[in-house]
Symmetry: C2
Subunit: 225 residues, 2 copies
Amino acid sequence: MPRLLHHRLDPSSRLARLMFAEYGVAVDLEDVRPWLRDAALLEINPAATVPILLDDGVPPVVGTLATIHAIDDHYTPATVDSLIPSDAAVRSEMWRLIEWVLVKLNDEVTRYILEEKIVKRDIRGAVPEPGVLRAAKANLAEHLLYFNWLFATRHWAAGPMLTLADFALAAHLSTLDYLGDVLWDSAPETRQWYARIKSRPAFRTLLNDRIVGMPAAQGYADLDF
Amino acid sequence: MPRLLHHRLDPSSRLARLMFAEYGVAVDLEDVRPWLRDAALLEINPAATVPILLDDGVPPVVGTLATIHAIDDHYTPATVDSLIPSDAAVRSEMWRLIEWVLVKLNDEVTRYILEEKIVKRDIRGAVPEPGVLRAAKANLAEHLLYFNWLFATRHWAAGPMLTLADFALAAHLSTLDYLGDVLWDSAPETRQWYARIKSRPAFRTLLNDRIVGMPAAQGYADLDF
């Protein structure tokens, strides 16, 4: 069985877990706190990031891009449609939005909120810097406006069908939602889309997540939020 | 003929140009200064980044991931090996290193140097902040140590064959080299690899680049540097 080194609130780890769940493939999860830069972790990945995918007889698969490609290349059952669509235009739109989420949304929102609320607390018991959280939340509001605009005319992020872009975005928003940072009232179109993806069986694995000492915000696991 | 909206020193644009050149596909280049956030650019790409790939009859292909996938999906001649290898282990290692370059190297080095030396100067004639450049160069020294370690045991970045990871890394280093920021004397293994990739015909397109008012550093276009 494949084994995933992950952190429960790391969005890229969540993306990998969503893919496995959607493809109906069982995976063993092993919790890692990558910011501790454990020597065993650094040996596999000098960048000290998760996810890392381990399986018998193959070298470790390291990082977000390598993991999503490996899952799609090697763990997609023949009976299931790939989350990477064959239509060229939808496919390009999917990669555009995956990059938007992995680079821009992460860079302007998610990584600051995780650093302030999870990493600083875990490393030295420090409390979040309010100014940093405020800036990240203001950036998130701008991103939600953009996603509202997208979802006003599309059923799924990249077009008419569910793709990896939906799971990439849902992975980030689910982390931010766990921490209580998504103001859903201000994002009706995105909320409708999120309610739809949240009710997929694949999402259950994330909704059961709990972090010791950091309970999920109200509504996190509710399908009607 | 495909048309690429690009900036000459933008590493992801350079990666796309290297792919086209390596695949022997002619492409029209159109210079863009994405930081000016021109309305026509924002309409195609609200993230205001390049590269953007345009061609007849298909929607614009926006961003790094979408562009490299589109080039590989639609512009690889049947007679040429794809830069995305079929071997699973090399392929995963390639994606790991592409992510290293596009996210980590960019985030710790390239984007600061471009912001300080190109963007600030172009927008308001400002001079670079020495402290920022110093920090970025110290980070680059760490990255070069890692690449030296890699190239001490491999012919190409991801293993025995040339892949997209080589072009991704070469695109970033060529930008930094244009600006005179790579201390090659401290990086003998990486220099050997760079000399090898720089002498490929595909690289010529980059070596002829000139930015008005910002000449290339000495050695930039020399195959023996």
